[in-house]
Every structure is written in structure tokens, then in C-alpha cells.
């Protein structure tokens, strides 16, 4: 595109092939035609990448540290399947991240160790097959725990799928425990919980997505916020995006077939 100040170097053979196949002549067509050709090429490339149109994100975005690490690992090994230790997502080739959607309902949860997390998964393309889903929660190490006994340091994180929300004074919520993990409150490592059953249910019916209820038990967790579930009143937005709860979905977009046993044998023979 000479007008835009960029140069596209095309091999003479390629240019000839391109020229004859698309009946496009460089230098003779007007700008409108050229823009159409460029738009067509961009659409073809986006289609190749599995996108219907070019995304136009608004503003700055925070890249979760775990995704950045996974990206580096994937580039190093050079295979199309997501290879993340600890989850069974063998044929997944896409990871999507979903932050908690803040709403007025958040204020109803006053307790430090109990909070509802909500995620909007409606934008996951219908053609993608869910392979795994995990909830990532960051923690603050409680180094000044007075009682150093193991019993007091320990706690447990429980995640429930809210099958049906409760109505105050009328009915209790229906909760389904889907995962739990023991935590040491003196450590600050991020914990990942398997929430695959809940996400499967939400994808089947978006109306049944009432979120996840996270409950942290333990002596320390009852009095102080060890697992980061909500933004503190005085916490800056930029600090919060680093430690906020995040849901990751591992899906297969169906763009390629996994190597079958026959193909592997065939390849070995060859």
C-alpha cells in the first residue's frame, strides 16, 4: 500500500500469480479497488486465524501472568495442543480468560471468606468444545500468624456451583460443591480449582449461569482476607487487576484433527 507509506515486497513470480488469479493490476486500479483487495486479503487471513472480524479492543488490558507463562512454554515446545501441567486439556488449542463481573450483588456478601463470582461466558463461540476450566485465585501470605501451629495455618477453599440462587426469606440456594483445596495461609502461591462441571452447565444454558460461590474456611481466613476474592475499598484498580479472580476455559476450536493412531504409525513407517 504505497499511499499508507508502507511497502509490500512481492516476489515477481508471486505477483504474476496474484495478478492473474484475482484480475487485479497493480498501478492501474483506483484506490477503492485496492482497498477492497486489501480488505479481502485481511478477511482471508482473519478467517485462517478463526476470527470472523478484526477485534478492536478498547483501552489497556492486563495479561494474566499464568497466560504469559503458558504462551512462552507453548512457543518453546512448538505443538498446537495446550500443554499445561495439572489439567487434562490434551486436545485444547485455545485458552480464554474471564474476570469476575462486578455488580450490585457483590455488596450482599459482607463476609470476608464467602463471595460469589460471576463470569460472562456467552461470547465463547458455539463451535468450540470445552476441554477444561479452572478458577484461579491469588492469595496474600499471612506471615504474622500468631499461632504457628500447622492446625491454625491451614485452611480450605471450597467452590460451589450455584445451581439455583436463593430468595431472601423464601428459599435457600441450591449449591453443588465442585472442588476444594487445602491451603497454607503462610503461602501466597496462586491456587487453581477445577470448575469444569459448572462451565459445562453454563455453556449448555447461559440462563443457568448464576456464578460460583467461593468459601474459605480456617482460623486465619475467618478473620482476615487471605484469598483475594474482592477488591478492597482503598485498592487501586491497577493493583486489583493483577490479583483478581480469573476463570480460564480451555477449548478446542475444531480447526484441526488430532493425529490418530493410524497416522502416527504411518508417519513412523515413512
Amino acid at each position: 500500500n504505497a499511499n499508507a507509506g508502507t511497502s509490500l515486497r512481492i516476489d515477481p513470480d508471486t505477483a504474476t500469480a496474484f495478478s492473474s488469479s484475482s484480475s487485479y493490476r497493480f498501478g492501474t486500479t483506483d484506490r477503492k479497488d485496492r482497498d477492497q483487495v486489501i480488505a479481502g486479503m485481511e478477511a482471508s487471513l482473519l478467517s485462517l486465524l478463526g476470527l470472523a472480524k478484526r477485534p478492536r479492543p478498547q483501552g489497556q488490558a492486563y495479561i494474566p501472568h499464568s497466560l504469559r507463562e503458558l504462551y512462552d512454554r507453548q512457543n518453546a515446545i512448538g505443538i498446537a495442543d495446550i500443554a499445561k501441567p495439572g489439567i487434562h486439556a490434551r486436545s485444547a488449542n485455545t485458552v480464554r480468560s474471564f474476570p469476575h463481573i462486578e455488580s450490585d450483588l457483590d455488596h450482599k456478601f459482607q463476609s470476608l471468606n464467602r463471595f460469589r463470582l460471576s463470569f460472562d461466558l456467552s461470547k465463547i463461540p458455539s463451535g468450540e468444545t470445552l476441554q477444561a476450566a479452572e478458577l484461579s485465585l491469588s492469595r496474600v501470605a499471612m506471615l504474622d500468624v500468631e499461632d504457628k501451629s500447622v492446625k491454625h495455618k491451614r485452611g480450605r477453599v471450597l467452590v460451589y456451583d450455584i445451581v439455583r440462587p436463593g430468595v431472601k426469606g423464601r428459599s435457600k440456594p441450591i449449591l453443588r460443591l465442585i472442588d476444594s483445596k487445602v491451603i497454607d495461609t503462610t503461602k501466597n502461591a496462586t491456587i487453581n480449582l477445577d470448575v469444569h462441571p459448572a462451565v459445562v452447565r453454563w455453556i449448555e444454558s447461559h440462563q443457568n449461569n448464576h456464578g460460583l460461590l467461593v468459601h474459605v474456611t480456617g482460623t486465619v481466613a475467618r478473620t482476615r482476607e487471605h484469598v483475594r476474592l474482592r477488591r478492597a475499598v482503598d485498592e487501586h484498580k491497577e493493583a486489583w487487576v493483577v490479583s483478581r479472580p480469573m476463570l480460564f476455559t480451555y477449548t478446542n476450536d475444531g480447526s484441526y484433527e488430532m493425529a490418530s493412531a493410524d497416522q502416527i504409525i504411518d508417519r513412523r513407517t515413512r
Binding site: 494474566p64 504469559r68 507453548q74 488449542n93 480464554r96
Partner: protein, 117 residues
């Protein structure tokens, strides 16, 4: 330069090999939604498949036969083609319409090796 000389034949034609092809996402204006990588090394295969086919040209039995027939009667069959014989995947980190971060792996995006087929 030494590598190029080695690949070039006496008649000036170059043997089948991998050539660099870098797609810079900033050049195509995609750097606002693709977080990483800044571009990618796609590579391409180009060159001549001469008779006899050397081992490093990763040729198949069929390509050897085709080249043999071509060497005796060029009008009968075309030469074997210089094509990618091994491809690798690339990973991309990008932002979708709602600023959500997506990591996606794409199969067969970069050429690892070329050969005569």
C-alpha cells in the same frame, strides 16, 4: 554467503531450501490486538529439485521416480516440487472485542523443513 554458494548449482539455480519470510504484525496494523508475538517467522520453500535427488532434500520414492522420468523426457512429467515437509505451530496472545485475553495455538504455521515431493 558460504551457505548460499553451497546451495547454488553450477548453472546458477538454487537447490530447494528454506527461505526467510517474516510477517510483522505492526506492518499489517494488527499490533493493537495481537499482544505477542510481535510477528512471526513463516519461512517458505523455494528452489530447484535436481536429478539425482540428494538425501537432504527429504524426497519420497515417488519424487525420485518423477525426477528420473523428467530427466529422461521433460515433456512427459514436470519436475518434483520444492514444498514444506515439516511445519510447526505458533502461539498467539491476543485481545478480543471485550478486552479479554485469549491464547491460541495455530497448527502448521511455520516451515521447519523443505523437500522435493
Amino acid at each position: 554467503r558460504a551457505a548460499l554458494r553451497k546451495n547454488r548449482r553450477k548453472d546458477g539455480r538454487e537447490n530447494c531450501r528454506r527461505h526467510p519470510l517474516y510477517v510483522d504484525f505492526a506492518d499489517v496494523g494488527w499490533n493493537d490486538w495481537i499482544v505477542a508475538p510481535p510477528g512471526y517467522d513463516a519461512f517458505y520453500c523455494h528452489g530447484d529439485c535436481p536429478f539425482p535427488l540428494a538425501d537432504h532434500l527429504n524426497s519420497t520414492n515417488h519424487a525420485i521416480v518423477q525426477t528420473l522420468v523428467y530427466s529422461t523426457k521433460p515433456s512427459m512429467v514436470p519436475k518434483a516440487c520444492c514444498v514444506p515437509t515439516a511445519l510447526s505451530s505458533i502461539s498467539m496472545l491476543y485481545l478480543d472485542e471485550e478486552n479479554k485475553v485469549v491464547l491460541k495455538n495455530y497448527q502448521d504455521m511455520a516451515v521447519l523443513g523443505c523437500g522435493c515431493r
